[in-house]
């Protein structure tokens, strides 16, 4: 099936969603997504950040869809024309969505452990307004422990349901979910039941914000002062392929590897995540790929040439004289 996204045509198999098709083209047209997670079935459709405008429904019926649609839940039709970043209406609508997501968000990034690798930060930075218009009291919850390894900051939650789907699909029995409705809905365990399952730690990795964080890494170090390396170990339960966050020789944190879209590649078990915090436990493969625009690449000097190119590009866009052409 042929589908055109932002003027770029691509041939995709039947049943592909617009979001997946856009991701096949590349990050320059792929809409951001908070709740959709490629490894989790039935995820997506909650956050509405991936909305796009369909200007032509299909080759057979070229009428445009009346309002922006969630690209993670809409399958492509043959001859469909989709507008994402080139459509002002979409950008405006997405800005509104971000504003809604941030309505109850406490904006405590200086305290939050997720800062630096937070999808909501990126989304707000790229699509959000600089200030809030909300004047009412934000909803507040107590910080609670889910088990002895996970901390739940319900204040920061955007109700993407990713952790619920993970618990449902990866682990054997789910002991947590979303209770209450609407404004009052919150992630909760059955009477704060402890999640003790070999794979329960993955809810930390799928959480796009800092709602679920690793207690063993709590306030240890800001992520951009740690160095992520890809490493593996022999594990009987999981694949053992993880990302190990180092500070010097010390292993501060172990997470699953994430792909280009910041989604977990392979889920890892709790033993790998929490119990192996020595460099000798791991076979280090090499530095993890870090997006150069990410703050995690700060103070890492592997990308100096790329940085120079980008600086020149920005200077050109702003009309400055390039650095090397200065008298």
């Amino acid at each position: 099936m042929k589908v055109t996204i932002d003027g770029i045509e691509i041939d995709v198999p039947k049943g592909t969603t617009i979001l997946q098709a856009a991701r096949m083209i590349g990050p320059e047209v792929a809409p951001p997504a908070m709740c959709y997670h490629s490894k989790l079935k039935t995820s997506g459709g909650y956050c509405r950040t991936c909305i796009v405008k369909v200007t032509q429904g299909s080759a057979a019926n070229p009428t445009p869809m009346p309002k922006p649609v969630a690209s993670c839940r809409t399958e492509v039709m043959d001859g469909m024309v989709v507008e994402n970043f080139i459509n002002k209406e979409v950008l405006e609508a997405r800005k509104g969505v971000v504003e809604f997501l941030l309505i109850n968000h406490p904006l405590d990034c200086p305290v939050c452990d997720q800062a630096g690798e937070c999808k909501l930060q990126d989304l707000g930075y790229e699509n959000g307004a600089a200030s809030t218009r909300y004047e009412f009291k934000r909803r507040e919850f107590e910080v609670i422990d889910i088990g002895d390894k996970i901390k739940l900051h319900m204040n920061r939650c955007i109700l993407c349901y990713r952790c619920v789907k993970t618990a449902d699909q990866i682990t054997n029995d789910r002991v947590h979910g979303v209770i209450s409705r609407g404004d009052a809905s919150e992630i909760s365990t059955y009477i704060e039941n402890v999640i003790d399952n070999d794979f329960s730690g993955n809810v930390i990795d799928v959480c796009p914000v800092g709602a679920l964080t690793d207690k063993t890494f709590r306030f240890k170090q800001r992520v951009w002062f740690t160095k992520p390396v890809d490493a593996h170990r022999d594990c009987k339960v999981c694949s053992g392929k993880s990302r190990v966050w180092l500070k010097g020789e010390e292993v501060l944190r172990v997470t699953a590897r994430k792909d280009q879209w910041d989604e977990v590649e392979e889920f890892i078990c709790n033993s790998c995540r929490y119990d192996h915090k020595k460099t000798s436990d791991w076979v280090i493969e090499g530095p993890s790929p870090v997006n150069r625009n990410s703050v995690i690449s700060q103070n890492h000097y592997e990308h100096l040439n790329q940085l120079k190119l980008q600086v020149l590009k920005q200077q050109k866009a702003l009309g400055f004289m390039p650095l090397d052409k200065k008298p």
Partner: protein
Amino acid sequence: MQLTNRSKVVSNKVQSFSERIYFPAIISGMAVTFSHLFKKRPTIMYPEQKREMAPIYRGQHVLKRDENGAERCTSCGMCAVACPAEAITMTSGERKKGEEGLYREEKYAKTYEINMLRCIFCGLCEEACPKEAIFLTDRIVDADYERDDFVYGKDKLVEKVDKRIDVTKRQTPEVLAFKKIPGLKHNELYTDKLNKGKH
């Protein structure tokens, strides 16, 4: 090959009699020295007498407390990542129940160190701080004997509750407005791009 155009030809000319006895040269040198007795003295007697400083002189840092005396710094690391000299290090701690008067937020800086020998006093830490916690002041970093003593910890950086350090001059409406000018932020380039419809 000529390496520089500032080279001079050295002459080996024989000195005259008056040059050889040096006496006239000594007299004229002494005249210059003597004439300085009647000129204005540029030296000041520091520390009794201090030079006037710009109100936003960038000297020794201070970690501010809020109006209740709680430390403002939440150990977010923005100053350390902004620091071009990599002079700032910190470790964070979690505030316990009952310490609300000591630390403003859930997380606080357990240790906070600035290496004053590395610091170039550029003020980027002050600019990066989201909590208005770190400011540079018009105090000059003291001389010392040991290199280790130049690593200032929280004992030297955090202001004393009874001896607050005034930084209001750095927080004038102009300064606060300056921090909010969108054109000076990294953001602008991105919004421009979006407005042009290119991602």
